[in-house]
């Protein structure tokens, strides 16, 4: 469990570092998605702390501990939101790419600085 948690935090940190160090706008957005994946995985891991069984009511009595459904349920919302923001940002990037084909953040920023 601890090893998995460590892996998840490494994913988040790699995503965040990518966000800082990648000069390309497209890569920045992908790095943000990597970070989001780490966060979602963290919720799934947290839900599995109490057990792994899917919490569905059946006729048979179960003695195996079941997973906590609440974090899994709420993270679904976060996944959908993350997806829609990702899509929105990529559309905006496509529009920007017409004027700035290299998509380098520094160059774009310089062009649009007030």
């Amino acid at each position: 469990m601890v090893a998995l948690e460590a892996c998840i935090f490494v994913t988040v940190i790699i995503g965040f570092l990518g966000l800082i160090y990648k000069p390309n706008l497209f890569m920045k957005i992908i790095a943000m998605d990597v970070m989001g994946t780490g966060v979602i995985a963290y919720y799934c891991l947290m839900a599995a702390r109490t057990g792994f069984l899917t919490p569905i009511v059946t006729d048979k009595e179960s003695t195996i501990p079941y997973a906590d459904p609440v974090p899994q349920a709420v993270i679904l919302t976060a996944i959908v939101i993350g997806l829609s923001i990702q899509a929105l940002m990529l559309v905006a990037t496509m529009k920007l790419a017409r004027e700035n084909p290299t998509l380098e953040v520094k160059a774009i920023e310089k062009q649009y600085w007030p």
Binding site: V12, F16, L19, I20, L25, K28, I29, M32, M35, G36, V39, Y42, Y43, M46, R49, V70, P71, V74, T77, A78, I81, G82, S84, I85, L88, M89, A92, T93, K95, L96, R98, E99, V105, K106, I108, E109, Y112, P114
Partner: protein, 487 residues
């Protein structure tokens, strides 16, 4: 408020739920039937006003859960009432301003969705609903901002979305820590959660609310957006993150100290930039940063302060967008039509805390009963506010020249009317010592402006506003928050 009091047994839960659900439906209906969209938006604003009325007239705060203890928690009290009222009035003003500008139904549909998601952010009482509401706010604000479809505006919107979404990812990790400790997403779980949770959640909310280091994206985004969008974003959209911070700050003394400390740092930092800004809209945007600090410094009075700030800031943004130039140097040479100058004067004197408009009472209420270190710092920031708004007050008025667009006139009437009526909220503020102090603050501010600031050509560095630096600043803020909480 006792005159219109609602009985204690009255249950506001169905009303709030119905208002939010119907408003969202109105947004989509209006998009399908474009002829009705203006009136639907108007109806949505009025229904929010009704919710705010309920919030003020209920004898005590009401809590309710929509599903179960794991579900969506709502809270309706006077604090949320102020934010709801701000939302209703500012959106109403922006709607009136845009009424005849030929914008498509998409714009108004997004306006309704933004308005409603802000309402739910003001009403909710658990971290997960707040997350959802804030993200919907970001998406709707992005769509509204990029409505002109110029590459420049698209870049600004993209920047906003990138930063706010990254901050919200940190926030989500913090929320997970709160849940694993208290098995619920309610705000109150934050006191038992490990310190990491506080740092991560605060980072998310600080970035959203444009506070101190993490919120430096705000000046460019608010300053460069189209006029009605600037008014809307500075007026209410930033306050969605602020209310979350206020609610966290009211949980325990330790958190209160953290919120107040951040508030003071922001108030001083923002006002320093606002004083030296050479551009009208940029000055107003930096000033929003500073005013959010004032709101945080006194969470109990924060609601009223946020209301007066929202009204003033949106009217100033609407006015600044219609002035002949954005450069203060050019504005000082050309005379301004009196129709523009008088509302500029009223709004500026309200925000600087000059008596007879609600800003004065909000400032008095904020400064009342604060510890000395806080009060002194805030008084310095208040003088800075007076200095920065002297730039607007000392423009030359003239009685010939441009006439008003009708939409702008009605919008200003709504906003400034709200400020005048707001005087009744805390009329006890009108004592001789308070009046003297407020006049003195404004006088010192104006004097310093003429004597010192007007001649300065100093320019503060703006390098910290590049995207790379903003993301780096997030990690620095996180480190500072950790250090503060652990020490």
């Amino acid at each position: 408020m006792t005159l219109f009091a609602v009985s204690a047994e009255f249950n506001a839960a169905p009303w709030a739920t119905v208002v939010i659900c119907l408003a969202l439906m109105a947004g989509f209906t209006g998009y399908l039937l474009p002829a009705t969209i203006h009136f639907l938006t108007l109806a949505v604003c009025l229904s929010t006003g009704f919710l705010a009325y309920l919030a003020f007239s209920l004898p005590e705060a009401q809590f309710w859960y929509l599903l179960d203890s794991f579900g969506v928690a709502f809270q309706l009290d006077a604090l949320s009432g102020y934010f709801l009222l701000t939302n209703a009035l500012v959106t109403l003003a922006v709607l009136v301003y845009c009424w005849n500008t030929g914008r498509s139904a998409f714009f108004y549909a997004q306006l309704i969705i933004l308005h409603t998601s802000l309402n739910s952010a003001f009403l909710c009482a658990d971290f997960m609903s707040l997350y959802v509401a804030l993200e919907v706010v970001a998406i709707a604000a992005f769509c509204l901002m990029t409505y002109p479809r110029e590459p420049r505006i698209i870049w600004l919107g993209l920047r906003y979305l990138l930063l706010s979404n990254t901050a919200m990812l940190f926030y989500l990790i913090g929320v997970a820590l709160v849940y694993s400790n208290s098995q619920s997403f309610a705000f109150s779980g934050l006191t038992q959660a490990p310190p990491e949770a506080t740092a991560l959640i605060f980072l998310g909310l600080l970035t959203k609310g444009g506070i101190f280091l993490a919120g430096l994206w705000l000046p460019q985004t608010h300053g460069e957006a189209a006029t009605p969008m600037s008014a809307l974003m500075s007026g209410v959209v930033v306050k969605a993150g602020i209310l979350g911070l206020l609610r966290c700050g009211l949980l325990s003394d330790q958190l209160l100290l953290l919120v107040q400390g951040l508030g003071v740092a922001t108030a001083l930092f923002g006002v320093a930039y606002a004083m030296l800004a050479k551009d009208t809209k940029r000055m107003l945007a930096f000033h929003t940063v500073s005013q959010m600090g004032f709101v945080l410094a006194a969470p109990v009075a924060g609601g009223f302060y946020a209301l007066t700030h929202g009204l003033v800031k949106s009217s100033l943004f609407l006015l600044a967008g219609n002035l002949p130039s954005r450069d203060f140097k050019i504005l000082q040479k050309t005379p301004i039509a009196a129709g523009f100058w008088v509302p500029l004067l009223l709004a500026s004197s309200s925000i600087a805390g000059f008596p007879l408009l609600a800003g004065f009472e909000a400032k008095t209420l904020t400064l009342k009963g604060l510890p000395p270190w806080l009060a002194i710092a805030l008084n310095i920031a208040a003088v800075g506010t007076a200095i920065s708004f002297s730039k607007f007050v000392f423009l030359k008025p003239t009685f010939v020249g441009k006439t008003y667009p009708l939409g702008l006139g009605i919008a200003l009437a709504v906003l400034l009317g709200g400020l005048a009526v707001g005087n009744v909220v805390y009329w006890q503020a009108f004592t001789a010592s308070n009046l003297l102090k407020a006049t003195l603050t404004c006088g010192v501010g104006a004097g310093l402006y003429w004597g010192v600031v007007k001649r300065l050509t100093l320019k503060l560095p703006d390098g910290g506003e590049q995207v790379d630096h903003l993301i780096g600043m997030m990690s620095i803020s996180l480190t500072i928050l950790f250090a503060w909480i652990l020490v």
